[in-house]
């Protein structure tokens, strides 16, 4: 059997691996989104008390300052000693928490780029702070955030491949399984895998850019 027959035969496994990567990506981005938004809102509009703010800063520094591969090991081997956690669960948790740290900073700068006068005008008309954030500040911040968020999206797609080190059977690990049965054709297999990552990345980014264009407001400054 030459490599192309093998690839053809095993392509469903690659697609399955891609599926796992997509689920991992969706899960970690969702966790990161909720966490990042909560942190951003607390940092900007929450209590100024150190007991609230410092833990957030420490969390954000740690998760932005430690390589993801180390975090994966710590979460998998660390947590599995205490509770039963699958490699997939550990990967979602480690990468979701890390993405939360990054997304909090994307959102924070997006919120801060909304001119102070917008909040002032909303409050001057009797809107509560919550209502002003939801109806006036958030829609503008969201438009500012999409661009930087595509970066986070692209990075995280690629970093799902690292989950392979703790045994998650995602795309990269599937590729390894194929390689072990086809001596010598490593490059061809990885080329196909690279193409799959690339297509996923481009598709996702195209959708995000389309979303950005759909929300575009004439004359609204970037």
């Amino acid at each position: 059997m030459d490599i192309y027959d093998v690839l053809l035969r095993d392509f469903p496994f690659l697609l399955k691996g891609l599926g796992v990567a997509i689920v991992l990506l969706a899960a970690l981005l969702s966790i990161g989104f909720v966490l990042g938004m909560a942190i951003c809102l607390t940092q900007l509009y929450g209590p100024k008390s150190r007991f609230v703010q410092w833990p957030l800063v420490i969390y954000e520094r740690i998760f932005r300052g430690v390589p993801i591969i180390i975090m994966l090991f710590i979460f998998f081997y660390g947590i599995s000693g205490v509770v039963d956690i699958s490699a997939f669960g550990a990967a979602i948790l480690a990468m979701g928490l890390r993405s939360g740290a990054y997304q909090s900073q994307i959102f924070r700068s997006a919120f801060q780029s909304v001119p102070a006068g917008q909040m002032m005008a909303a409050r001057a008309m009797g809107m509560s702070k919550m209502s002003a954030i939801r109806n006036i500040i958030f829609p503008q911040a969201a438009r500012h955030a999409i661009g930087p968020w595509t970066n986070e999206f692209s990075s995280e797609i690629k970093e799902t491949s690292l989950a392979y080190v703790i045994g998650v059977v995602e795309l990269t690990r599937q590729a390894h399984y194929i390689i072990t049965s086809t001596q010598g054709n490593i490059l061809t297999v990885f080329a196909v895998v690279a193409l799959l990552y690339f297509i996923l990345n481009r598709t996702g980014n195209s959708l995000l850019y389309a979303f950005e264009r759909k929300l575009a407001v004439p004359g609204f400054e970037k």
Partner: protein, 246 residues
């Protein structure tokens, strides 16, 4: 008549880092009156205006709107009854003109969407921008933006309208269209406090001019008296400078 009193400002004081900007200001405003605050930069006019609706929280003093004291606890409800027009417009930049005039009617006053829409169109008509309902703020000139922000304030049925240097960010050509709208409002009996350097507006539309300097009210009186026969040397000096350069 006491029940005509809309706004009563009593002995308001404000300091920033120990620097007193307002040193005990009192004035009142009856229904339908227009009072114009004038004075050199840094005299505390804008701070005073912002203290009225607690955009700047005063250190001391009391403010009453239609007999109800303005407090931290009721501030959102109070603000909904006070229109505020900013120097730099502050239109909501992600919303169309129509939505700008509509959103607070719905979100703050709880109006139904169709009622809010109808009212928004009326107010846009009133400021001469009926044809701009679908435009976004960044597509309008400064003068048009300021007229939209006036419409936005009017649509809330304010008991009093506060203007914070509404024409200072506009070039002379655009100033005229905003001043005309303000004059029309004054004629129609809107209750207004206006901080401005537009002396033509002060002269024609004000029931009373209040001259402030260094955190005090130096002098107040009708435009006729203030422009021709002011008692204070400082008022005359200020008006002369404005007359030469304005």
């Amino acid at each position: 008549m006491a029940n005509d009193l809309i706004l009563d400002v009593q002995d308001v004081r404000k300091a920033y880092d120990g620097l007193e900007v307002l040193k005990g200001i009192s004035f009142s405003l009856c229904k339908g009156e227009t009072k114009v605050l004038i004075g050199p930069s840094g005299s505390g006019k804008s701070t005073l205006l912002r203290c009225i609706n607690y955009l700047t929280v005063p250190d001391a003093g009391r403010i009453y709107l239609n007999g109800e004291e303005v407090l931290d606890t009721n501030i959102d409800a109070i603000r909904a009854r006070i229109g505020f027009v900013f120097q730099d417009f502050n239109l909501f930049s992600h919303l169309t003109v129509l939505d700008n005039v509509r959103i607070c009617q719905i979100k703050v006053n709880g109006k139904r969407k169709d009622a809010a829409t109808e009212r928004a169109h009326q107010e846009l008509e009133r400021v001469g921008l009926a044809d701009k309902a679908g435009a976004y703020p960044a597509e309008l000139s400064g003068g048009q933006q300021q007229r939209v922000s006036i419409a936005r304030a009017l649509a809330m049925d304010p008991e009093v309208l506060l203007f914070d240097e509404p024409t200072s960010a506009l070039d002379p050509e655009l100033t005229g269209e905003v001043v005309r709208v303000m004059q029309q409002l004054a004629t129609e009996g809107m209750t207004m406090v206006v901080v401005t350097h537009e002396m033509s507006f002060a002269r024609q539309a004000a029931d009373e001019i209040i001259f402030m300097e260094n955190g005090y009210i130096v002098e107040q009186g009708s435009p006729e008296i203030m422009f021709t026969d002011s008692r204070q040397e400082r008022t005359r000096a200020f008006l002369n400078v404005i007359a030469e350069h304005g």
